[in-house]
């Protein structure tokens, strides 16, 4: 084979790795029943592909070839280790007979394997940090170092979370399966929550000098798309819609100098119309199912904003109505706060302020900077400068994010003496 042809095969192997390595891994985990063994087998399968495809040609179904090669390599590795540990011979024999025809399975079961992988990585028995790290590494294919960079932590910390999570999956025998219908809503919630956390970390990074980390939002959206391809549940549609609608405003959300720009002040011509159209269509689909929940409702609110040609043309009555439904579906002080802000837009600052003071008087959201900055804003609009100053200062003490701090400092500076 010419050098040129060999290079083309290598590129082909790389392309297959990018497009299919996660699918192959998901199937190997099912066949071998062990994450580490499956990852080693995946690696060995691609090594074999680099060796053999230039010689034998690229197989007609590369994915099936890789699954088969990985399984074979794993049994081989077991046999090799069995020379030092006799108990492995039995396991190797079992694999050899029980999993004899991995390639005969149809496309649908391969897709099921991807879903199994997502549900296992997001199993509620694993700590939330571990769910996120494991999902990003095993489902999205990020490296430990990339995950550590995204979450501003050290690779050894992330590596340890992943090692521990895999040990727990093995030792606690967390099953590799899609939950049965009765368990599905609860388990799906955990998966959606993991995706939502990844998105939020990318959209409004909790600490650091930059406001957003687009890579993580991109991964979360990819995960959301994968999930609705595999399981088009209304709330999965709702979450993807919510993420796309937020993502559509990314450019408008920060000024060229890196400063935070609030929704009402954003240049709406910078909003990404394609993402808005896709997000709006998804939320319509979710709403029409009549089985929607909090993600869909938040997406519906985001869609009302997205449809307003100017901030002044926002349909605040509809937004308050959606918050009313959301407050019933998923009651929380944060939802109440957002509802209060919408009421202030519909009925005036005093109505909103009364609601926020009610939340704070109960002792809720005392350490939530957005509650104090929203209160400060309403006081400012009512001309209650002393109250506004106190609340901006309180908010400032509660946020660690540089652009948000600068925004609050700017507002403080703008108050009349």
């Amino acid at each position: 084979m010419s050098e040129e042809a060999a290079r083309r095969v290598r590129e082909m192997v790389d392309a297959v790795y990018r497009s299919d390595s996660r699918r192959v891994l998901a199937t190997l985990i099912r066949l071998l029943g062990d994450f580490d063994l499956a990852e080693e087998a995946l690696h060995d399968a691609f090594t074999a592909a680099v060796e053999r495809w230039p010689r034998d040609g690229v197989p007609a179904n590369p994915r099936a070839w890789l699954v088969s090669a990985g399984r074979f390599k794993a049994i081989d590795a077991m046999r090799r280790r069995a020379r030092f540990d006799a108990s492995l011979e039995e396991i190797a024999r079992r694999f050899d007979t029980e999993t004899s025809d991995p390639t005969g399975r149809d496309e649908e079961s391969v897709e099921d394997d991807r879903l199994r992988l997502i549900f296992t990585c997001c199993h509620p028995a694993l700590p939330p940090d571990a769910q996120i790290a494991l999902t990003l590494r095993e489902v999205c294919g990020l490296t430990t170092e990339e995950i550590a960079r995204a979450f501003l932590t050290g690779p050894p910390t992330v590596a340890q979370r992943i090692v521990r999570a895999k040990a727990k999956i093995r030792d606690a025998r967390i099953p590799y399966e899609v939950p049965v219908r009765g368990d599905l809503p609860g388990r799906l919630d955990t998966v959606l929550h993991v995706i939502y956390l990844v998105f939020n970390e990318g959209y409004s990074a909790s600490a650091g000098s930059s406001l957003t980390r687009p890579d993580l939002s991109g991964e979360a959206i990819r995960l959301g798309r994968l999930l609705i391809d595999l399981l088009a549940e209304p709330e999965a549609l709702g979450l993807l819609s919510l993420m796309l609608l937020h993502e559509s405003r990314r450019t408008a959300r920060t000024s060229p100098a890196g400063e935070l720009v609030l929704l009402g002040d954003q240049d709406r011509s910078l909003w990404n119309r394609e993402l808005i159209a896709e997000g709006s269509a998804l939320v319509q689909r979710a709403l029409s199912s009549r089985r929607f929940g909090p993600y869909t409702l938040q997406a519906a609110i985001a869609a009302v904003h997205a449809e307003a040609p100017a901030a002044g043309a926002t349909d605040w009555a509809q937004i308050v109505g959606l918050y009313d439904v959301l407050a019933r579906a998923d009651p929380s002080p944060v939802v109440e706060l957002n509802r209060a802000a919408a009421v202030a837009m519909r009925d005036g600052p005093l109505a909103g302020l009364t609601l926020i003071d009610g939340i704070l008087a109960r002792g809720d959201l005392a350490d939530y900077y957005l509650a104090h900055s929203a209160r400060a804003d309403l006081c400012r609009r009512l001309g209650r400068t002393t109250d506004a100053r106190a609340s901006y200062e309180r908010a400032l003490r509660l946020t660690q994010q540089d652009p948000e701090r600068r925004f609050l400092e700017r507002r403080l500076g703008e108050l009349p003496d």
Partner: protein, 118 residues
């Protein structure tokens, strides 16, 4: 990305091992090396002579001093290393966990600094 796997163990135990056990360990190391060569993880490796063969060199105030023995006295000593290529730290940990050294001593996995990256 490259990782250096440093194998530490109590070197005083090696000479005390019966020949059959020592052969078994050696066999396992050879098996391991062979396997990671095939899998493409292997970059290089060496076994080191015991620390009694070590000399520590320092230059202080322009004067060369040499001392007999290792830089620091520890319960486990560096006995060898593998330089491996792995996708990420978790893959490197997986490879290191298959190293026989992880069972008779400990394997320290150190990412190699990539000077081409900022």
């Amino acid at each position: 990305m490259k990782y250096l796997c440093l194998i530490y163990s109590d070197e005083t135990q090696w000479p005390k091992l019966p020949k059959a056990d020592a052969d078994k360990w050696m066999g396992e190391y050879m098996e391991f090396t062979d396997h990671i060569k095939k899998s493409g993880h292997y970059v290089g490796s060496n076994r080191l002579q015991p620390t009694q063969a070590a000399t520590t060199v320092r230059i202080r105030n322009g004067k060369l001093s040499t001392t007999d023995g290792p830089f620091a006295e520890t319960k486990e000593q560096l006995g060898g290393y593998y330089l491996i290529e792995a996708r990420d730290l978790n893959e490197a940990i997986q490879v290191a966990s298959r190293n026989p050294g992880a069972r008779h001593g400990s394997v320290e996995v150190r990412p190699v600094m990539d000077v081409t990256r900022p």
